[in-house]
Amino acid sequence: MPETRDITLTVNGETVTATVPVRLNLVDFLRNSLGLTGSHVGCEHGVCGACTLDVDGATTRGCLMLAVQADGCTITTVEGLPAHGMAGALRAAFTERNALQCGFCTPGMLASALEYIGAGGAADRTAIREHLSGNYCRCTGYQSIVDAVCDVIEGRARA
């Protein structure tokens, strides 16, 4: 029988207890066990960034962390981002700039952008592009995403 473990963690403000196979990765656990399908699976080797989410305040690839490693962690996925404040403003800016097309990269892109903005990042297009360089988007060409991040930093976007 595959080995399992009991884990308890906080996901989007809720305490969750579950028994998970030890080989189950975090993003599969969130998607398939908790139904939080906002985080996406794009490559399963940490390159595409679609599964990027927040673990204990730091962006993390959900495909490169096991669910069992998240025992005791506090996790925020795209579903748990607040409607107000920086996250709300960023969503508004993404909408205004059409910084998404198919939307598959968007949850990971938001997580990476929020980490940059939250750390006090400047509205420097090169720096923003470098910070987002681990998140693949095939649709937009990235420019509108950079625009949206700049809008939030420079106070043009409101939740």
């Binding site: 595959p2 473990r5 030890v22 080989r23 080797h45 730091a58 490169l64 069992v68 990476s112 681990g134």
Partner: protein, 282 residues
């Protein structure tokens, strides 16, 4: 793909971890940040029978400074290295190189010890350690030993670590804080593994001849490699003119392997370019 099944242990302390390593049968993979191990497991390229999660082993964490230099716990994450003034001052080469290593989300979890233990030939960290004359502290139930970086990286994903040992810490010599540092890599995309890269340190003041230079390349060979020929050519010299030319020429003696995107001759050419550019930044 999904990882093949494995057993999972998360010992509470170092003694527990070492006990498992020495007692259990099979292919035990210590799990640090997992940022290189997990992709290989997800694609079933790596199929360890057991993962030994070191997350709770407090003895592997923390950075301390002493008269002999820094001791960086193996489980120190890249993001912690970047934020810790002990590291950026005590090992400025690491500070210089960190922005080039992978991407933010990877640096948030990836650890120095994990990178060192894996010994990916294209990774930056082994070359940084070679250039700083760092030493790797290994621990097992039979005790501790410290191995010079020069003696640690033995080949493709091959190191001096015995199966029952863990990388406990990285020791950076005290003079690393005073030596001049240079770093340059050529990666197709920001954060990619480099086609060729170099890390170097040298004594002497800026503008003065290079005292006892240490030069290490990555992305060229089956491991990070010291360029002893270039070091000899540049020793106590200004990195310019014929001296620099001789240093670049000496790189042809390096054991260079081609890869998917560059044959060996291209790698050799790029090695010369990164050396010149790294030196120009010193």
């Amino acid at each position: 793909m999904k990882a093949a099944d494995f057993a999972y242990r998360r010992p509470a302390d170092l003694a527990g971890a070492l006990a498992i390593l020495s007692a259990e049968e099979g292919d035990i993979a210590p799990l640090a940040g997992g940022q290189s191990l997990m992709p290989m497991m997800n694609f079933r390229i790596a199929q360890p029978t057991m993962l030994l999660d070191l997350a709770d082993v407090a003895e592997l964490r923390g950075v301390t400074a002493g008269p002999d230099g820094l001791r960086i716990g193996a489980m120190t994450r890249y993001v912690q290295l970047a934020a810790d003034p002990l590291v950026t001052q005590g090992a400025p080469l690491i500070g210089l190189a960190l922005p080039h290593i992978a991407h933010a989300a990877i640096r948030n979890r990836g650890t120095i010890g994990g990178s060192v233990a894996l010994a990916d030939p294209a990774a930056e960290m082994p070359a940084l350690l070679l250039a700083m004359a760092a030493r790797i502290e290994l621990v097992s139930l039979s005790g501790r030993r410290v191995v010079a970086a020069d003696d640690f990286f033995l080949g493709l994903y091959e190191t001096a670590r015995a199966p029952d040992e863990l990388v406990a810490a990285i020791h950076i010599p005290a003079d690393a804080s005073r030596r001049r540092v240079g770093f340059y890599e050529l990666a197709r995309r920001h954060g990619d593994y480099a086609m060729a890269g170099v890390a170097l340190t040298a004594g002497g003041a800026t503008g003065q001849p290079l005292a006892s230079p240490r030069i290490a390349f990555f992305g060229l060979s089956d491991r990070a490699v010291r360029a002893t020929g270039a070091e000899a050519a540049l020793k106590d010299a200004q990195p310019a003119g014929d001296t620099l030319g001789a240093a670049v020429d000496s790189l042809s003696a390096l054991p260079i392997n081609g890869d998917l995107h560059a044959p060996p001759d291209v790698k050799l050419k790029l090695a010369g370019v990164v050396l010149r550019r790294a030196l120009a930044g010193m």
